[in-house]
């Protein structure tokens, strides 16, 4: 079978290409670790000081997770970053001053203060219930699922695209055109050959993310692998498609700022809930949008396959579309 011949050849080639192998399997882990180091900090360690606060409130605050510090000059301490907030009690109202020069402070401080003061206010007990019961308390745990999908996408796109491109620049693609192989056999062979490595990569990245770095996993692991794999398939078909429009490796790199970086904005790492409608529309044509959504559904919200059918079919649709376009361009190149 000609397809099997291509698959076997790709496996042989790829196993000898240690650099690409490392780029596919270890680079995503390395970047995951880096983001983990940076983002995996609990939002604790918030230092505040109080001014003229009633004793009752102070006890409540002390029971919370914040650190209460006595300072002589609250304003100056805030400026110097010794404390993150000042809570003052003036004319029967709470006045909270926050050091908002650090982006993460504001939310964290408000949350902590609310939590500390909410309970038993006016004698009515307040209970805060987490809907998904995620026990997430670091930024990394929030963005982990998205990162897993994003990096899987990125590296498969790069490695798959470049090696397909090399077929063209080495002349081996044209050489194949002089043999009785059909264009679709070439592409299918390529997708399966590379797909095998994409499967391995998906497993490595997901298992590492979940079991080593502690990305939350409320739902089923196989769903996560499935989504990652579909994302990788989309990346692979897109990478091979775009590689036909690049003359060399450098031109392939130029697709990164055009194709890969913008996807980050629509991956759920940044909130676009309040963006204008056309921005949302752009998001609709970004594969990562669906992949990231599905990953959040499964990993954080613990939903099952029924809730991500739409996302799964979209990813599948993208792959199919890119595959067909691949076929069309290859057939037209053969002429």
């Amino acid at each position: 079978m000609k397809i099997i011949a291509i698959i076997m050849r790709i496996i042989q080639q790829f196993i000898r290409d240690k650099r690409s192998l490392a780029l596919l399997f270890f680079a995503p882990l390395l970047i995951l670790i880096l983001t983990w180091v940076v983002l995996d900090q609990e939002s604790g360690n918030i230092a505040i000081t109080t001014v003229d606060l009633p004793e009752k409130m102070i006890t409540k605050l002390e029971a919370g997770e914040m650190q209460l510090i006595e300072v002589d000059n609250p304003d100056e301490s805030l400026r110097e970053g010794e404390i993150d907030a000042i809570i003052a009690f003036e004319s029967n109202a709470l006045q909270i001053t926050i050091d908002d020069s650090e982006p993460s402070n504001q939310q964290a401080v408000m949350m902590q203060i609310q939590q500390a003061l909410a309970t038993n206010q006016n004698g009515v007990p307040v209970e805060i219930e987490k809907y998904y019961d995620t026990e997430i308390d670091t930024t990394f745990e929030y963005v982990g699922p998205v990162l897993i999908g994003y990096f899987a996408f990125f590296f498969v796109f790069l490695v798959g695209g470049i090696s397909f491109l090399r077929e063209k620049s080495q002349g081996t693609m044209e050489r194949l055109f002089a043999t009785p192989i059909r264009s679709w056999e070439i592409i299918i062979g390529y997708l399966i050959g590379f797909g095998i490595f994409a499967i391995i990569q998906s497993f490595i990245v997901v298992l590492f993310g979940v079991y080593v770095l502690g990305v939350p996993l409320q739902g089923q692991l196989v769903l996560v692998v499935l989504i990652t794999l579909l994302l990788a398939l989309t990346a692979l078909t897109l990478g091979t498609l775009l590689s036909t429009f690049a003359k060399n490796e450098f031109q392939m790199m130029q697709f990164i700022p055009i194709v890969i970086v913008p996807q980050a904005f629509f991956s759920g790492l940044f909130s676009i809930d309040n963006a204008p409608a056309w921005v949302e529309w752009i998001g609709n044509v970004m594969p990562i949008n669906y992949g990231a959504n599905a990953l959040i559904e499964v990993m954080i919200k613990g939903n099952s396959i029924g809730d991500i059918l739409f996302e799964i079919s979209m990813l599948f649709g993208f792959s199919l579309l890119f595959f067909m376009l691949n076929l069309v361009t290859l057939v037209s190149f053969r002429k």
């Binding site: 050849r9 080639q13 290409d17 192989i181």
Partner: protein, 240 residues
């Protein structure tokens, strides 16, 4: 005389550049046909249209009465490209094995044939070597081996002996003659005059046009010259 390859008014341009201009060719079965022409005259473009890797803007090409491009016909054609198109990460044997599978050869036949062609191009000793570490001439020979691999009835070889030393070059030409005796048709492109002398038929190509064709002796007689080189210059002078 039965012609096995026929080109009728084949023209092709890349952008504005007319690379093949109304080429008519008849190539007879069981002959060594040489396409002789200076660099850029369109030799490579011409053979690419014959194997169907390039569809010309106009004109018709028939190989054994099948209109090209035809995937099926490619089973009968062995092709050696001018630029070595090899999988650099693989060994010589793995390269051959891959192409053998693409041509649908069965396992037993594959193994036997691979050893055979490796011997024919003097690469048997290097069969386990990764192609990346091959010299230019070794790559050339491996490309030739791939073209011979599936025992095609027609061989189309684009400058097969470039970068191959004189001793091996002679050996390769002996092989061509051997294959010719078996009824195989061979088309070689070249710009080396002494190789042209060894062909049965020659097509002189310049600027995408066939200036003249015939056997080396015919061409020399017609132009009252003593070498192919002079004959070429004669036709070039007449036609320009």
């Amino acid at each position: 005389m039965t012609s096995i390859i026929t080109l009728e008014k084949v023209s092709h341009s890349f952008g504005n550049e007319l690379v093949l201009s109304n080429v008519d060719l008849e190539i007879e079965q069981g002959k060594i046909y040489g396409l002789l022409g200076p660099s850029g005259s369109g030799k490579t473009t011409l053979v690419k249209t014959i194997i169907g890797a390039l569809t010309p803007n106009s004109g018709k090409i028939y190989v054994e009465n099948t209109k090209m491009p035809s995937l099926k016909k490619l089973n009968d054609i062995g092709y050696m490209a001018q630029a070595d198109a090899l999988y650099e990460e693989l060994t010589a044997k793995e390269n051959l094995d891959f192409f053998a599978k693409i041509y649908g050869m069965d396992r037993l036949n594959r193994k036997k044939r691979i050893d055979q062609v490796l011997n024919e191009v003097d690469l048997f000793e290097s069969k386990e070597k990764v192609v990346e570490n091959f010299s230019g001439g070794m790559k050339r020979r491996l490309s030739l081996a791939i073209a011979l691999l599936h025992e095609p009835r027609i061989l189309i070889l684009d400058e097969p002996t470039v970068g191959i030393d004189p001793v091996l070059r002679n050996k390769v030409w002996d092989q061509f003659n051997e294959m010719k005796r078996k009824g195989i048709t061979i088309i070689v492109t070249t710009h080396v005059m002494d190789e042209a002398e060894k062909c049965d038929q020659l097509g002189l190509l310049r600027d995408g046009r066939v200036l003249a064709s015939g056997s080396p002796t015919e061409l020399k007689d017609q132009t009252h010259t003593r070498t192919i080189e002079d004959a070429f210059l004669y036709y070039g002078g007449v036609n320009s």
